[in-house]
Amino acid sequence: MRHRLKALAAAAASVPITLFGLVLVTFLIGRVMPIDPVIAIVGDHAPPDVMARVRLELGLDRPLLVQFGIYLNHLLHGDLGRSVMTSHSVVHDIKQFFPATLELAIVAIFVATVIGIPLGVLAATRQGSRIDTVVRVFCLAGQSVPIFLLGLLCLVIFYVKLGWAPGTGREDVIFAGTIPPVTGLLTIDTLLAGDWDAFHDALAHLAQPAGVLAYFSMAYITRMTRAFMLDALAGEYVITARAKGLSAARVVWRHAFGNISVRLVTVLALTFAGLLEGAVVTETVFSWPGIGQYLTVSLLNADMNAVLGATLVIGISYLLLNLLADAAYTLMDPRVR
């Protein structure tokens, strides 16, 4: 246990170094991109004197290392700079865009976990059966169908044809700008505002994009659960448990699943982290104003403060989730205890 805690502490200590590396690499990539960041601000038609002034204002005339030093200094003081695309501070933008993605990812990972793990266990315990085949095909489709196609299909079926779900966006136009942002999670904020209609509307808007992401994640979680379980069910300790006359449910859930749960935590943590940075296609199809869209638009417009800020937030999320997974290992792995 002490050894494990030491490893955990070492992992935590490496976070600042990893973040520094992340910021440095992103910064350098931003500066060597074949896009002039000044054009992103002043446009193609601006006269040379305006472009020269903005170049000076951005500090782009200085050596690269000096520019990085200045950025780092501001960063340590909590200043991520100003986004040229939104005219707001990057901190303000992240507070606006990141919760939208977080809300989507939380619901998606919850649904994917609740359905994906039992499905994986079921398929593994019925290996080779029709149920197993159906689950495998279901997972294969979830992993191989392009997510934008799945999103559009959902919109056509559930929104256009059946009318069960609302269209794109986070909320209906009648609620636009009416809910004061507290947490940034619209479902929570609508509850805090005591507006039940807005809450229902937010939930309804969440269902489709979260459902699409959930299906995508569930396919992976189910596949991994099935593979882990098949491995575990073939273990000698499982045969021993069966030979001892334990019930099938006890063998599967207590002995086999108990053993794979540690590995599953890593799968879940990485899947969740993937949702935080990889939801951009879903966000585009469903006009969901999340961090993925923010990062993509910023990148295409060479809005480097925004790109660095968003990358940093996603990087921190990844590292934190990794740390959490490591901590969970420590708590769950009996060999460590």
Binding site: P34, I35, D44, M85, S87, V160, P166, H200, L206
Partner: protein
């Protein structure tokens, strides 16, 4: 048989099912609200002294008013907006505007000549991106206070340091940068001498029919009527929703969750056109697609090669097969609709003629070059069509795809060979494009004018001089004649193959009418939008 397991599973699934059904949408936009689905992630600032993108210029056109505006019945003529009347001194240097007395800001205060003077002064003093539209007349931070000033509550005098064509000056004042801001509001929110720029980036203070009440970047814009504007609006609330995906826009229109959609693809426009529930409104835009030929490449510098390329391209096939409903053939540097624009298209695909020109240039066996283009629809397909057309006359083109700003960066660095790009006119006067495509008085790296001619090393003294001559010509008819001549000369010898002109279209839902798309975003109006 209902088992305990089934019951548990059904219970567990209930909350999920509720999510799907609870908010089942009523597929109608609310009464009194017009919902427009549009890509609006290009917005940087709403301050008229700074705004220079499509979406913010369009919003500003509905929340601000200018001294003058294009005549809605004939865009090539000028009509008064805030100005009731104006006079111009015989030497063309002094403009005196009499302002209307009934225009008011949302605060209830009347628009005064002092507001107008302050607005134009701050454009010059801030000198942001669109500032050159006003500063090109010779206004500087030091002289603008004395040259643009109010001589009475409703009288504004604007003196030019040098004579300029009257229509040139007036058309520049119709651009968004000529919008009148409420001085008191700007001063109230001034920080560190920014003349209210920081506040006006994300807020508005104009006398237009609407006011912007909220903006969430890449999400929505919410507009309500300016209660004091004196301009009737048919729809009390306009909501512009950021919907990037054209397919999603189409679905919203079909379900009735959007009244107007703006970014459909040509195929989707066809789908809408076939449905009698919807109708389409279109307007030619001041945006031109062209191929620039860098004159530092010896082959591309030969006049016969420039002509050969122009004769090799199948313009009609591109417009018909790749860009129906979105781009039309336009072979002059002035897009149709602008004063003085040519209406004839002299070039068509003539491979024999193009090959003869190549042979005349001593390049019978052709040559190889690269062509940079924007990696988005429809540019990729057009680039491939051009590649095939040029291959037919022996020019082997290697296509180089890039993000728009990447291609622009490369052409600004003058490192391209061929480059296919789009140029949008800055204001509704021929000088904007004439200067861009023809003027290059100094081809050095230190030039003060680094627009399209400079970027392709195109130096033509006659055309450069004609640009200056036209801006100083006080006789409107003579001025148009100069531009006609310039377009003909440009078609003969400029290293720009002008391809297409943008057609902007909007698709309107059932019972929606009155939406007017202007030839520039600065002229697009929402006040007449009406829902049955």
């Amino acid at each position: 048989m209902l088992t305990r397991r089934h019951l548990l599973a059904a219970t567990a699934a209930t909350p999920l099912a509720t999510i799907g059904f609870a908010g089942a949408a009523e597929a109608k936009t609310p009464r009194g609200v017009a919902v427009m689905a549009k890509q609006i992630d290009d917005i940087i600032s709403f301050d008229p002294a700074e705004a220079y993108e499509f979406s913010n210029n369009e919003v500003d056109a509905n929340v601000y008013r200018r001294l003058v505006a294009p005549d809605p019945h004939d865009n090539t003529k000028i009509a008064g907006d805030l100005a009731k009347s104006w006079t111009v001194s015989p030497d063309g240097t002094t403009f005196t505007f009499q302002l209307k007395t009934n225009a008011r800001f949302p605060s209830g205060k009347a628009v005064t000549a002092e507001d107008a003077a302050y607005s134009l002064q701050r454009v010059v003093k801030l000198n942001k991106t669109p500032g050159f539209i006003i500063t090109q007349f010779g206004f500087t931070k030091d002289n603008v206070d004395s040259l643009i000033h109010a001589t009475g509550p409703h009288t504004l005098v604007l003196k030019l340091p040098a004579p300029q064509a009257t229509s040139f000056v007036l058309f520049c004042l119709t651009a968004n940068v000529g919008s009148i801001v409420e001085k008191a509001t700007a001063v109230k929110h001034e920080a560190a001498g920014d003349m209210g720029n920081g506040w006006l980036k994300t807020n508005t203070a104009g006398a237009g029919p609407y006011q912007m009440v909220s903006w969430a970047a890449s999400d929505h814009i919410n507009m309500t009527p300016n209660p004091h504007s004196g301009i009737h609006v048919n729809t009390p609330r306009i909501v512009i929703r950021h919907v990037k995906d054209p397919s999603a826009q189409l679905l919203l229109l079909q379900k009735g969750d959007a009244d107007i959609v703006r970014d459909l693809t040509p195929d989707q426009i066809k789908t809408v056109a076939a449905d009698k529930n919807f109708h389409i409104t279109q307007s030619p835009q001041g945006s031109s697609m062209y191929i620039a030929m860098n004159q530092t490449m010896p082959e591309l510098a030969k006049p016969q090669v420039i002509q050969a390329i122009k004769w090799a391209i199948d313009y009609d096939a591109i417009a018909k097969n790749i860009t129906p409903n979105s781009w039309v053939v336009s072979q002059s540097f002035l897009p149709k609709g602008l004063p003085g624009a040519l209406t004839t298209e002299p070039f068509h695909k003539d491979v024999a003629k193009a090959k003869a020109l190549m042979a005349e240039a001593g390049l019978k066996d052709g040559f190889a070059c690269t062509m940079d283009y924007i990696s988005a629809a429809p540019y990729g397909d057009i680039a491939q069509a051009v590649q095939a057309d040029l291959a037919a006359i022996g020019i082997k083109v290697t296509l180089v795809a890039g993000e728009q700003k990447q291609v622009i960066t490369k052409t600004r660095a003058r490192t391209h060979q061929l480059a296919m790009l789009v140029w949008g006119t800055d204001y509704f006067d021929p000088n904007s494009n004439a200067q861009a495509f023809c003027a290059n008085p100094d081809d050095s790296d230190n030039s003060k004018l680094k627009i399209l001619a400079w970027r392709s090393h195109f130096v033509d003294k006659e055309l450069t001089d004609m640009v200056t001559q036209a801006t100083a010509e006080l006789d409107a008819a003579k001025r148009v004649a100069i531009y006609t001549k310039m377009q003909q000369l440009s078609q003969e010898r400029a290293p720009f193959a002008m391809l297409l002109q943008k057609i902007s279209s909007a698709e309107l839902g059932k019972g929606v009418s009155g939406f007017v798309i202007g030839p520039l975003p600065d002229y697009t109006k929402y006040a007449e939008i009406k829902k049955a």
